[in-house]
Symmetry: D2
Subunit: 304 residues, 4 copies
């Protein structure tokens, strides 16, 4: 009996829930949001999809946090998107207040928490700091799939034959871990590395500019992370697990074995160059994070 | 080698394409729309999803109708949604102009055309009239799944055990074919029929009011119709196939065997009451359709 | 909660159970056989397969018929194979004694019974006669897939694009229903009909001669019938449902809609020629069956 | 385009091929064996299964080694089973002669070779020694799934929540890597370790005694290894990759990341105790292997 709860069902939350539920991996699902009627109507939309797919998962949409109790896995995508003129720090402060939510840990002790809300790695760290629960950030698995899709496209090879991970902090500072990149199991010479790195960083902005955002990629990729946990697939994915760094818990993406047990990370198997980048990313992360933490004066409000 | 083309990739077109492609049933997919850059960016979004799922379908997003050539299946969801103050006739005329598209039949003779654009049944009939190609309307399979989902919810039974179809014209005049309704293979006494019929008709409006539209249900259900065709599943679904009625080809949903061959329809196996409703639906359809056809003065413009 | 029981786990019973269980469609499975330790060891073999596939179905192997209680679906493949020098009548008598089993209907009233034991159609009729329960014969769905596989091979077309059904009694008297045969949705001219019919009838003997029997085909095909029932897929398959013919219930395969509700059959949609063959098959069946029934003097023994 | 070849289609070869092919992961499959007519008839059996599943893989059964050319993956299960009175050394010598096959590497350079023939690890090492090709042994992934299935059974927990690997040489000297064992992501206290270890070693013998052998477990598990390679799943599995040890290449199972690229192994993440066992296994392996190698006087015969 696997019970999953989705906290926040905006566009990305909906796509993750849809993609994960249509694989038939849950017994029970709770869709939670604070907007009145919204989760209930989403429930009705999903029920029709499940009817067509003959999937018997029990699903409820709710505005009551009490329904989010006893979950095995809690996926958090509640929060605000970045608006024009809003600094990253503003986003941090706003969403941290939403995320530092005493209701969730109290009702779901021992669950695996999966953070999606941006800035995703820091939200995971903040949640870990205040809840003491185990939380991962979906981190750079999204970038890793962008990397593979693009190499597949420019080299005209099937995407299933492309390997490679991106690590570090999710977003513009993510780094391609070149020692993991391979096609058909072999390292490739003469890849246009700069062009690839540029693509990995710039494509989300390009998609947002033209389509006003798209959640097909991240929604599917995050659903695959959830599936790896729920079905204990023991798959390597570039996600961020909690790690002690000086006096804080931080979240930096590294290729990591994902199953019902999460870990180990595979940083020791990377090239020295790649490891150096990851160490630098941790240092940067820590320094910015410490600074950001100051913007949370209180322990914040509560989602419900 | 199955080549599928999606014409029009607004919200519903995107959801259908996503849901169908993530099943891995195509070898090649063309995503076509007239909005500049849009199909190309959607392609990039999908490629990341396919990377995560290890699905090797070749996919291109394009503004060039020339890429939509030699398809086995063409899914048409191009067109405008109904705006406030717009009559059904206005929608008919606007979308018929888009749909009566000489470019598609010319480049894809003998393909199976799947109509999604609203008013969906009449758009299928118009397309059949002017293109002479074989076209189905996705019709009431969507309502059929709404019916099953709701019975599952109110009776607390797994949705996979609920049977039942809705027929007639897609939309407010659709009729529940009560002789097909069963739970766990058995007819159910004392179903609250009026309440169920009201739900089937009113839920889309309720979802639109709260969520501003949702494509999870229809997108998945239409993807399942496409899958039944592409994989020749020989499944019974309530779709509309072309049928001669007096001097026109019309499209009215009836439970129909769907595979690489579409048909037969199962109307002879329905109760007399259900059949009477379908006959009435055809008569109404014909009369409205003849009237609507007057709104198309010329044979219309061309998508590209 | 779907509970399935498999009665008799010889080679074919094992393959059906394996193929069905590895789709993840059951909640609980009972593997029953009278051979001591055998079901228990088969359980262990299957558990390792399910571990690898991350499928959580509860499974027990047992020699106690009491465990086969409250099933939703009961698959019967208990019985003896035909030995050299054994007439068909001998097989009928031997297996009827095994099949006419008061323990199963008593413990699983209202279940769907799926007959696999040969002679399969007559065993279904005998079971129906004595148990009064609803039972289908897996009949000619096996021949139908042989037909499609062979047309695919000789015409070099993907098998998913080949349609066609075989009807009548399972075995040497089965008839190709030529009006159902199509490739890519279209009737094919100039098919080598005699060669195809010969193949459909002779290939099982050829496989047995070389490989000593093979259950990969029938096991998968029967698992697909079970899946269509359990997931209510509403798929057309050539199976045999109980049908009153004069004073007996008989089982003759006809393309039939298979879901949690089984039926209607599609005989009215066949060509006159095909229907004529089916009518002749029923007549022959009835006459042989009446004769065979004499070989059962008592109501027989009980499996356990 | 993925082409897979199966060399040797006895019981285990058939089950692996069936289990892998019915997932739809190949474009083309060659089934090769030296027994006349046998592969061709197996092909016919499989074609019917694929027809039912709507899987369009091209498949041929053949006695001609020339058809086994240009494969991406070659699965070798040719060889003899151990007969009564036959020593392990006899089996080694007999099967090594079959396995050291110049025809395969010549026609499939750069393929991934997957060894299944027993003694599986040494056959992989022999093949590597003489072919210079990349070959893995399916090793202890089979034992690992036995381990999980048994813990699931005795603790009454879903098998998908059980983690754990077995390492070392496949067979009676395999060792449970206790530091990898977890339920629901957590280490378990008070497991009956001796009882579990005994089960992992003795269950194959028990199954063989009662059922005369069963390939459902190993066939599925090895198909999952193949799927992880072909779809580049990056999953951790306990297989054996080639490793230099003194003057030989040896194969010892260790949890290893399996994708289109195979590796790294995760031995550094095991407990000291577990690592000590693996080191001891390598030493033992080397010493026995060196001794066994003497039984191959010539470079052996060729399969074809």
């Amino acid at each position: 009996m696997i019970k999953a709860s989705f906290i926040g069902i905006g566009k990305i939350g909906q796509t993750i829930a849809y993609s994960a539920m249509t694989r038939g991996i849950f017994d029970e699902v709770v869709l939670y949001d604070i907007i009145p009627e919204f989760p209930e109507k989403f429930e009705h939309g999903l029920r029709r999809a499940l009817a067509s797919l003959r999937i018997d998962t029990e699903v409820i949409g709710t505005n009551s946090i009490d329904d989010v109790t006893g979950s095995d896995i809690v996926v958090i995508s509640a929060g605000r998107p970045r608006r024009p003129g809003m600094s990253r720090r503003d986003l941090f402060a706003d969403n941290a207040k939403i995320i530092i939510n005493k209701e969730l840990p109290k009702r779901n002790p021992g669950a695996v928490y999966v953070m999606v809300t941006n800035p995703v790695d820091m939200m995971a760290s903040v949640f870990a700091k205040y809840s003491k629960e185990y939380v991962i950030s979906t981190g750079d698995q999204v970038e890793s799939m962008r990397l593979r899709a693009y190499i597949s496209k420019i080299l005209h090879v099937p995407v299933s034959q492309v390997d490679g991970f991106v690590g570090g902090e999710h977003g513009e500072d993510a780094v391609v871990l070149w020692s993991t990149v391979a096609v058909n199991g072999k390292q490739v010479e003469d890849l246009p590395k700069e062009q690839i790195e540029k693509y990995v960083k710039s494509i989300p902005g390009d998609i947002i500019r033209v389509m006003g955002g798209t959640t097909w990629g991240p929604g599917t990729i995050i659903a695959d992370i959830i599936k790896a946990i729920v079905l204990n697939e023991n798959r390597v994915m570039s996600i961020a697990v909690p790690r002690q760094y000086e006096d804080e818990i931080i979240h930096i993406s590294i290729p990591t074995v994902v199953g019902s047990k999460i870990g180990p990370t595979l940083e020791d198997h990377l090239s020295e160059d790649d490891r150096w980048h990851l160490i630098a990313a941790m240092k940067d992360y820590y320094s910015v994070y410490k600074d950001m933490l100051k913007s949370i004066k209180t322990e914040g409000e509560i989602v419900s």
